[in-house]
């Protein structure tokens, strides 16, 4: 019997600072020590840890089309993420996974895709964007709606701005409160969504961010006449085992670690506690 609790080791190849200030975020580029491919799907997660500190479930921020490495964008908040932020390139960490269901990207062929992210919630949406760009002919238009509290909190800023040069990608950035040099939308992400007003025609909308943002984004998508099966989100909860046994991450009878983290709104709306 394989032991699902014993992690593999991985080496940190590179660390990039995404956001500074009170809510620092770093992106860790890592490779499994044995050189093996991680074989994940966009939207899946992994237990990232340090022996002697513990593990946290982190969404994989890179697409499986990017071979030879994985990326995790991590906000410094608790014990494990603080220890990870203290790491340097070359350090060894541990990985278990991939876990969870991932986004049904194969069902989305030919669709127009809209991602709606808030803060660190952009991390699980990033592999979808990369996946679409690496399989560009399989998808229709791509709209990236993304906001954060301040311009300092926006992740992946350079690469998102780089995307604006593509004719077939539209970028819609926002911050909650105005800043002197900010020329784009000011206001909350759900409000920006109503400004952008994407058409539900042949479209899929995927949202991730703080719980309250997700609720309002879904409300607004429904107002824009997106159906329950056109709206997807990815959830998080405190986790320990990552494999549906330790009990704590349930939303109703489903476990975020194993049955999620990706849920169609058609499923989500029937879950108590969401």
């Amino acid at each position: 019997m394989n032991n699902p609790y014993v992690p593999e080791t991985a080496t940190i190849l590179d660390i990039r600072e995404e956001a500074s200030g009170q809510r620092p975020i770093k992106t860790f580029k890592v490779a499994l020590t044995d050189g093996r491919d991680f074989n994940h799907q966009p939207g899946q997660c992994a237990m990232v840890g340090i022996l002697g500190i513990g593990e946290s479930m982190i969404s994989i921020a890179s697409s499986p089309t990017k071979k030879g490495y994985l990326e995790f964008s991590i906000m410094r908040l608790g014990k494990v993420t603080s220890a990870l932020h203290a790491c340097e390139a070359g350090d060894t960490i541990t990985i278990r996974g991939p876990y969870g269901n991932g986004f049904p990207v194969h069902d989305w062929k030919g669709k127009n895709i809209i991602t709606v992210g808030g803060g660190i919630g952009q991390a699980p949406l990033r592999p979808i964007i990369q996946y679409i760009l690496d399989n560009r002919n399989d998808f229709g238009t791509l709209d990236v709606i993304y906001g954060a509290r301040t311009s300092q909190d926006l992740c992946f800023k350079q690469e998102i701005l780089e995307l604006e040069k593509c004719d077939d990608v539209k970028i819609h950035l926002s911050i909650d409160v105005g800043e002197p040099d900010w020329t784009r939308f000011v206001g909350f992400v759900p409000t920006n969504l109503m400004q952008v007003k994407p058409s539900p025609e042949n479209a899929i909308a995927i949202t991730c961010g703080p719980v309250v943002m997700i609720k309002y984004v879904i409300k607004n998508l429904l107002a824009l006449e997106f159906s329950d099966t056109q709206i997807f989100t990815t959830l998080e909860n405190r986790m320990k085992c990552g494999i549906g046994k330790c009990g704590r991450c349930n939303v109703g009878s489903l476990y975020v670690c194993k049955d999620g983290p990706v849920f169609a709104y058609a499923t989500l709306k029937n879950l108590p506690e969401y």
């Binding site: 019997m1 394989n2 032991n3 699902p4 609790y5 014993v6 992690p7 080791t9 022996l51 002697g52 500190i53 513990g54 593990e55 946290s56 908040l77 608790g78 993420t81 060894t92 719980v211 998080e236 909860n237 405190r238 320990k240 085992c241 494999i243 549906g244 046994k245 330790c246 009990g247 704590r248 349930n250 939303v251 109703g252 009878s253 108590p272 506690e273």
Partner: protein, 338 residues
Amino acid sequence: MSALILPKDRLTDFLLLLHEYTLWAPVQRDTVTLFEVIKDPKDSPVDLEHQASLAKRSIFPQSEELFSFDQSGILNDASKEGSRENIIFGIRPCDARSFRIMDPVFEGTMPDPYYLNRRQRTVLVGIACREPFANCFCTSLGGSPFSQEGLDLILTELDGRFFVEVLSEKGKEIVEKTASVFTPASAEDGKQREDLAKRSEGAIKRKVDLEGITEKLNGIFEHPVWKQMASKCTACGICTYTCPTCYCFDMQDETTLRKGRRVRNWDSCMFAEYTLHASGHNPRPTRAERLRNRIYHKFKFNVDNFGTFGCVGCGRCISLCPFNVDLIENLSTIKSLA
């Protein structure tokens, strides 16, 4: 298979003959009776009078090492360590059933080697409940004081002797190894056992009709009743620790200067920290949401996921609760809601 008789004064001899096994048995510790590993049955009298708790820790320990490590990496995987076969002697029929409820959690697409290896290497020697305890309600959950489900052997105490029934291959092996302590049972012994079983089942006072409870729970998630029920709960967690079907666990790293180990410990859904996010957000911030989750887990979520209630009706959560939170009353209240 024919039944046997174990004279009461040969019980210690029976247990001594099982020395090649790690022997778990109920022993009295201060005011409670708990399952513990017995080194020598002569020194630790087995307590078959009281309702012993924590049989589950023989297969799912309260704290166990998953693996150890040092600065060079992971040193050993504790699931690969061989250990002796376990016997749980004196387990109650409800507790034997409880393993069947926990099994599918630890099986599944990612089987848990720690639990499953130990489960495979464990023999369950049950004791039928001649007298039900005050809060027993196993008959409301499809069990009975003489249920043989999941057991390898079952003993029924008659006057001065135990009536022993062999229920599995594992059980057969045990009685073969200890054949010298048994005498054949008579038809009269069998009849006495039948009479006791009927009397005991009839002596169960507490009952709750669970027909339709899962459907009922579908509609009352936001009901104020949860706050009322939780108002006397202090979230001490005793209900979950002594529950034979509660399996939730935490994982922690314990380290010294050069070495460490990852352990898993029983956790409780009644604790605030259980679901607390690093951000400070808690999806179950008060005792009301936590008590609600516990009842939903046992009477709806477990049904949705595995087709059975996550409760065997042992009543320990009622007997041991310091504030008289009464599961049977709560279930009856839920059933009576319009």
